[in-house]
C-alpha cells in the first residue's frame, strides 16, 4: 500500500505515447540556449533581418481594414487570396500550380502530420532520405510509420539505393506508402538532388508506383543560382508538394501549404478541419498582405546573401580547423552543413564535452529512425553571426582534437589530430 503513483493516467495513454519520455539530449540542450554557448544546433531563421516596421505596418493595416474577418474562423482549405499569393511564391521557383490545388497548413509541419495521419497505419513503411528532417521523422513515428532510409551522397538521394530497398521490399511482399524527400538544400545534409537524379527518381516513382512527398522549405535560399526542376513539375500526379513561408518570411506566422492531387487534397482539407477547424485568419491575412504589398523577393535575396556569407564563414573555418580530421557537405543553399567525425567518434557522446567548451550542435542520430548517424552531426549557420560561427567551429575543433588524443591513448590508435 506504499506505492506512490506519480502519473495516475498512465494506463490510459495510447500505445503510440509510450515512447514519450524525458531525454538526456533534451536536457543538455537546455544549456545550449544560454548566451555563453555558440549554438550551431537550432535551425532558426534570422528573423532580425526582417523589416520590422514593415511587418508592423502590414499587421496594423490588416486589423484596421479587415478586422472582423481577420478575427473570424476561416475555411478548411485556407484563404483564397493567400493561396493566390502562395502560387506567386511557387512561380518564383518556376513551379506552376493553381490556387485551388493548395491547402494552407499551420507550417509545413502540420502538412507532414496530416499526411502521416492520412497514409500511415501502424507498421506501414515510409521511405525517407538518410539522413532525413527530424520533424518529418517525428510525424511519421507519431503515427507508428516504419521509416526505411535511402542513402544519399553529395548529389542527394541515390536512385540505385532506392532500387535495392524496393527489391528487398518486393521480395518481402511489402510496399511503401510514400517516399519523403527534401530535394533542395536538404535538412540536415545541405545538398541538393541533381537534375539527372530528379529525372531518375521520377522514372523510379513510375516504375515502383511510388507516391513522393517533396518538401521544399529552402528552395529560394539557393547559393549557386542553379534552379533545378521541381519534382512536382515533373510528375504532378505522383508528387505532393509542401511549401512554407517559415524560411523566407517568418516561422512564427506558421504558414505552410500542400499542393496535392485532387482526391488527396480533399481529404487533407477534411483532416485540417478536424485538426484545428481552420488556419488562423489573422496570420493568413498578414501573410497575404506581406506578399501583396511588400518587396518580399528582395527580403528573400537579403536572407540568401546573409546565409551565404555565414555558410562561407563556416566552411572556411572548418577547412582551417578540421580539414585533416573530418569531412563535411558543401551546402548548395539553406541552413545546414553535415559533418562526419573521425572514425569511431560518436557525436551524441561528444555533446557534453562540446557544451563544456561552449558550443552546441545536433547529433546525427536525431536524423535517422534506425539509430544510424552516430558519427555525424548537423551544424547550422542560419542564426549565429559569422564571427560567432567561426568561434563555434574553433571550439568544436578543440573538442574533437582533444577527444582524438584521448581515444588514441585509450585504444592505442595511431596518434593523430592532437593539434601539435
Amino acid at each position: 500500500m506504499t506505492e506512490v503513483q506519480l502519473d495516475p493516467y498512465q494506463q490510459r495513454y495510447a500505445r503510440r505515447a509510450r515512447g514519450m519520455t524525458a531525454s538526456e539530449i533534451r536536457a543538455l540542450f537546455a544549456v545550449a540556449t544560454r548566451p555563453e554557448i555558440v549554438s550551431l544546433a537550432g535551425g532558426m531563421p534570422y528573423t532580425a533581418a526582417l523589416d520590422n516596421a514593415a511587418v508592423t505596418a502590414v499587421t496594423t493595416a490588416v486589423l484596421r481594414d479587415a478586422g472582423p474577418i481577420a478575427l473570424q474562423y476561416g475555411g478548411g482549405q485556407g484563404l483564397d487570396e493567400l493561396r493566390e499569393r502562395l502560387v506567386d511564391v511557387m512561380a518564383a521557383e518556376q513551379i506552376k500550380a493553381h490556387p485551388d490545388d493548395l491547402v494552407v497548413t499551420n507550417g509545413g509541419q502540420q502538412a507532414l502530420d496530416l499526411l502521416s495521419r492520412l497514409f500511415c497505419n501502424p507498421g506501414d513503411i515510409v521511405l525517407a532520405e538518410g539522413p532525413a528532417y527530424v520533424g518529418a521523422l517525428g510525424a511519421f513515428s507519431a503515427y507508428q510509420g516504419h521509416v526505411i532510409h535511402i542513402d544519399m551522397d553529395e548529389h542527394g538521394l541515390i536512385p540505385e539505393a532506392l532500387d535495392d530497398t524496393m527489391a528487398a521490399l518486393t521480395a518481402a511482399g511489402r510496399s511503401a506508402k510514400f517516399l519523403y524527400t527534401v530535394p533542395n538544400h536538404q535538412n540536415p545534409a545541405g545538398v541538393s538532388l541533381s537534375a539527372a537524379r530528379r529525372e531518375a527518381l521520377i522514372e523510379r516513382a513510375e516504375r515502383y508506383d511510388l507516391l513522393l512527398i517533396e518538401d521544399n522549405p529552402y528552395g529560394l535560399l539557393d547559393f549557386k543560382g542553379e534552379q533545378l526542376p521541381c519534382l512536382h513539375t515533373l510528375a504532378p500526379e505522383r508528387v505532393i508538394y509542401l511549401g512554407t513561408l517559415s524560411k523566407i518570411f517568418s516561422p512564427g506566422i506558421r504558414i505552410g501549404w500542400a499542393v496535392a492531387p485532387a482526391p488527396i487534397r480533399r481529404k487533407l482539407t477534411l483532416l485540417k478541419e478536424t485538426a484545428d477547424l481552420s488556419q488562423s485568419n489573422l496570420t493568413q491575412y498578414v501573410a497575404e498582405r506581406w506578399l501583396a504589398t511588400q518587396p518580399w523577393m528582395e527580403q528573400v535575396e537579403e536572407f540568401r546573401e546573409l546565409y551565404r556569407e555565414r555558410c562561407d564563414a563556416m566552411l572556411e573555418e572548418l577547412a582551417r580547423q578540421l580539414g585533416e580530421d573530418c569531412t563535411w557537405s558543401v551546402p548548395t543553399g539553406g541552413f545546414f552543413v553535415w559533418l562526419r567525425l573521425p572514425e569511431g567518434m560518436d557525436s551524441k557522446e561528444l555533446l557534453p564535452s562540446a557544451l563544456q567548451a561552449r558550443v552546441a550542435y545536433v547529433p546525427g542520430r536525431a536524423f535517422y529512425a534506425d539509430g544510424a548517424g552516430e558519427h555525424e552531426m548537423r551544424l547550422s549557420f542560419c542564426f549565429p553571426t559569422s564571427e560567432q560561427i567561426r568561434e563555434g567551429v574553433r571550439r568544436l575543433a578543440g573538442v574533437i582534437r582533444e577527444q582524438a588524443a584521448l581515444r588514441a591513448a585509450m585504444y592505442g590508435d595511431p596518434p593523430w589530430g592532437s593539434g601539435s
Partner: protein
C-alpha cells in the same frame, strides 16, 4: 520574507534545476513570501547586493550549485542560504572524495577505483583496465566522479564494454568512478535538519533508474516508506545520518543506497542539493512524513535564516 530562488546555470542539470526552482518559487509564494527567481548569470552579485534578500534558496543542481563555489560566494556576501556550506558541498560533490571519507568513518560503500583522462593520456592508465576489473569484478557501474542525474552513468557487464563506458563518462567529467555493483533494493534516504525521512524504494519499470526513469512521470515505481524490515529501515536511516555527520551537512541531504540481500545498506552517493521536481525523491519522502512541499520549502528557508543545526565549513 524575501527569498531569492537560484536555479538554472550552465550545468548539465540546468533543465532539472529550472524545474526545481519553479516549483520552489510557487511553493514559497503560496506561503506568502516575496520570491525573486534568479538564473545564474553575470549580474548575480549585483542583484544580491542591491536588492534586500533575506535568504537565498539554492535549487541549483550540477557543478555550479553543488561544488561549493556558489556557497563560498554567498558566504562572502553575507547572504544566508539553504543547504550545506561550501566544504561539505565540495566533499559530497566529488564521489571519490566522499566515498573515501565515508569508508574512513565506517560507512559502508561499495569498492571503487578512479581513472582520470590525465592518467589515460599521460601515463597509459588505460592499459591497466583489466587489473581494475579483476579487483572490482563485473558487473561494474561507471560514473563521472562529479555529476548528477545519472548523466554519463553506465552499467558494464564485461571487459569488452568497459573502455567505451569510461570514454562516455569522460565527456561529463575528467575523472570516472568504477564501482562494484551491489545487487538488491535501491533506496534513497533524505534528511531534513538531520532527521531521516522515510526511505523511498525505487524500481525503474524498464531497466535502470537512468535519466529518463528519473524525470518521466510514471516511468519508475516508488514505494514510500520502502518495503524494508524495521531493523533494515533503521540501518538505512543510520547510514544516511552517518554520511550527514561525516560530510558535515546541514539543512537537507539525500543519500542514495543499495540494500543487499542480507539487509546491509551500501551508500553510493550523497547529494547536498537534491532535486525538488515533481518526480524527485526527497519531496516524495517529505510527503510521506506529512511534510507537504510548501512546508518543506518554508522550513528550509527558516533554517537558513536562523542558521539551522549542524553544518561545518
Amino acid at each position: 520574507m524575501t527569498v531569492a530562488v537560484l536555479s538554472g546555470g550552465t550545468s548539465f542539470e540546468r533543465e532539472v534545476s529550472l524545474s526545481s526552482g519553479k516549483r520552489v518559487t510557487e511553493a514559497l509564494r503560496d506561503r506568502g513570501h516575496e520570491v525573486v527567481p534568479l538564473d545564474l548569470d553575470g549580474n548575480l552579485v549585483r542583484t544580491l547586493t542591491e536588492q534586500p534578500i533575506d535568504v537565498v534558496f539554492l535549487a541549483l543542481h550540477g557543478q555550479v550549485g553543488e561544488d561549493g563555489s556558489i556557497q563560498r560566494l554567498l558566504d562572502l556576501l553575507d547572504v544566508p542560504y539553504t543547504g550545506s556550506r561550501a566544504t561539505s558541498s565540495a566533499l559530497a560533490w566529488d564521489k571519490s572524495v566522499s566515498k573515501g571519507m565515508l569508508r574512513r568513518h565506517g560507512v559502508t560503500t561499495p569498492d571503487w577505483h578512479v581513472l582520470s583522462t590525465q592518467a589515460v593520456r599521460e601515463y597509459g592508465a588505460g592499459q591497466a583496465l583489466d587489473r581494475i576489473a579483476a579487483r572490482l569484478a563485473f558487473p561494474l557501474m561507471v560514473k563521472p566522479v562529479q555529476g548528477g542525474a545519472s548523466l554519463g552513468v553506465r552499467r558494464v557487464e564485461e571487459q569488452a564494454d568497459l573502455p567505451a563506458a569510461i570514454m562516455s563518462a569522460f565527456h561529463y567529467h575528467s575523472a570516472v568512478l568504477l564501482e562494484r555493483v551491489v545487487t538488491g533494493t535501491e533506496v534513497a534516504v533524505s534528511l531534513v535538519d538531520g532527521a531521516a525521512l522515510p526511505a523511498v524504494e525505487i524500481h525503474a519499470k524498464e531497466g535502470a533508474y537512468d535519466f529518463a526513469a528519473r524525470y518521466t512521470h510514471g516511468a519508475t515505481e516508488f514505494h514510500v516508506p520502502a518495503r524494508l524490515a524495521d531493523d533494515v529501515a533503521h540501518a538505512c536511516a543510520m547510514a544516511a545520518r552517518a554520511a550527514w555527520d561525516v560530510l558535515g551537512c546541514r539543512h537537507i541531504m539525500r543519500a542514495d543506497m543499495m540494500v543487499d540481500q542480507g539487509g546491509q545498506p551500501w551508500v553510493l552517493e550523497v547529494d547536498t542539493c537534491p532535486g525538488l521536481t515533481e518526480t524527485s525523491l526527497l519531496p516524495l519522502a517529505a510527503r510521506a512524513a506529512d511534510l507537504p512541499f510548501e512546508a518543506l520549502c518554508e522550513r528550509l528557508v527558516e533554517l537558513a535564516r536562523t542558521g539551522g543545526r549542524g553544518g561545518r565549513d
